[in-house]
Symmetry: C2
Subunit: 313 residues, 2 copies
């Protein structure tokens, strides 16, 4: 197979697009796709300051790499989740990437934010699935750091496979309010929120992996240990089978949803304007935000245990 | 496991409902589900005449059996598709079922309707996928027989797996006009059309197979030979995997769509009122209906071939 651009020997074949690329042309293709998505969906302008959430994995580092290459003003944000060796190795990769390129990186760690706030501890104390606890905490710190640092935009590395799996899950139960909020660009609904964007949402996991590999980005290959058996992986597996039977399925599924079907669900997004959390001051729909509510649960649990130990002693 | 109704030994276990049933209680459960669906979705009344499309398979014969048991006025319609031995064996089962119960059965055969109208011949002559040609012809004859016989309703045996697979296919490409028309009850849009209903749309393929087996219905077990490799089977396979990971997925997917999401697509159904086919007089959106258009293609092909043979001779 030959490269569709320069006719050199192809090094990667994209079945969904029925196209082969050599290394230089693939890197160009990938960057162009990101550039087009940013422009088409009006994600951000060159004068805006972008906070890039980086996990140390291929998607977020590929995204940061492309944004830097396109000349955008970026700062990375690494949030330490406290998931054992996985978190340590992820942090190393994020720091090495930023260090080698002399890029600004904000590092925050859940363990430093309060006792018992590492993801496994919160999940255990609140009897939540780790991914649910992790999601709530990530959202809080991403929002808080973007607000504190007066950024204009928060960019995350969600790829096509992530979005297709999320969409399939939302559609299988017709969760209209979730469908209403599944967009590549979320405009802020409160002055303390910033715009949230997903510039890789039309590029597959395979495409970002190839980009990261070909660019020589050193990323964490291992999956988060909590991901095993997660529902998202069941959806990804189902979608991969559909993709094998009919290449391009995932791309059409997500793209057509965003471009033609999403607006049908838009009314369901009307949850009104959030107020502010009495505890932390960040936007919240109730009296306290879901992050502070998690923290309270963790603290209550610790207090009960301490009391029990006192009684037993 | 025990029967949830009478505590006897369960003979069937429905994971989606987390319930076991003995034989008599299962048959009662199945009939009740059909009865409830008919009532909930206002499918038909006891004074209406129902034409039941029967293929000789488990779904349509189970449906006919239940409707007869519930006291409805039914007539079967068997349409011979001309798919070799499969069609012969299907017809035998439909005729044996009707004969043993002394039920009226209309038998029509595509081969008798015109030369070259058997499904494999039409598919070959028009270069269509057999399932596409078959669908267009079935729709035509179901409509035509229902109209000629002055029936009030046409009932088909589509089950939950059929509907879930069709829904998944429509959703994966966000075919809004198809989603607008995917309903368990389709009211007629023309005086020559009758109401079309799917009373089994919330009962799985497994449930109808168990009902048919336990009722002693002799049905064609083999699949249509054209179904192999059909896209519907890829969707069914994906849905079965999702169902295994989370029992009840298919039921929620279809039921929630029909009850809460379907209306969002309703505007897209506004194709207006059809006119009448200049050829056969049945409703059509163009000058001739899709059935007559298929017939013309077949005839044109035959004429070309005859001309070529004359020239060669």
């Amino acid at each position: 197979m030959k490269c569709v651009r320069c006719k050199a020997k192809a090094e990667v074949h994209l079945r969904a697009h029925n196209a082969g690329f050599c290394r230089p042309c693939y890197l160009g293709y990938f960057r162009r796709q990101v550039e087009r998505t940013i422009a088409h969906d009006h994600m951000f302008r060159p004068d805006e300051r972008i906070l890039v959430a980086v996990s140390g994995g291929k998607d977020s580092l590929a995204l940061w790499d492309v944004l830097v290459g396109l000349g955008y003003q970026t700062t990375g944000l690494y949030l330490g989740l406290g998931i054992g060796g996985y978190s340590d190795r992820s942090r190393e990769r994020a720091e090495a990437f930023a260090g080698a390129r002399d890029l600004p990186l904000v590092v925050r760690s859940l363990a430093d934010e309060g006792s018992g706030l590492a993801v496994p501890d919160v999940a255990a104390a609140t009897r939540r699935v780790p991914c649910a606890a992790c999601g709530a905490m990530k959202r809080h710190f991403f929002d808080a750091v973007a607000h504190e640092g007066q950024f204009d935009v928060l960019a995350t590395g969600h790829n096509l496979d992530d979005e297709a799996a999320r969409l399939l899950g939302n559609v299988l139960r017709w969760q209209r309010d979730h469908l209403a909020r599944q967009r590549p660009v979320l405009e802020p609904t409160h002055p303390k929120f910033v715009r949230k964007v997903k510039p890789l949402y039309l590029l597959s996991e395979y495409e970002t992996a190839v980009y990261a590999f070909m660019s020589g980005i050193d990323y964490v290959v291992e999956e988060c240990p909590n991901a095993e058996g997660a529902t998202q992986l069941v959806y990804k597996d189902a979608l991969n089978r559909l993709e094998t039977a009919s290449p391009g399925t995932k791309h059409a599924f997500v793209k057509e949803f965003v471009r033609t079907a999403q607006t049908l669900f838009a009314d369901d997004a009307a949850r009104g304007v959030p107020g502010e959390c009495q505890q932390c001051g960040m936007p919240a729909f109730g009296a306290i935000c879901s992050f502070c509510s998690l923290v309270r649960e963790v603290e209550a649990k610790r207090a009960r245990r301490a009391a029990a130990e006192l009684t037993a002693g």
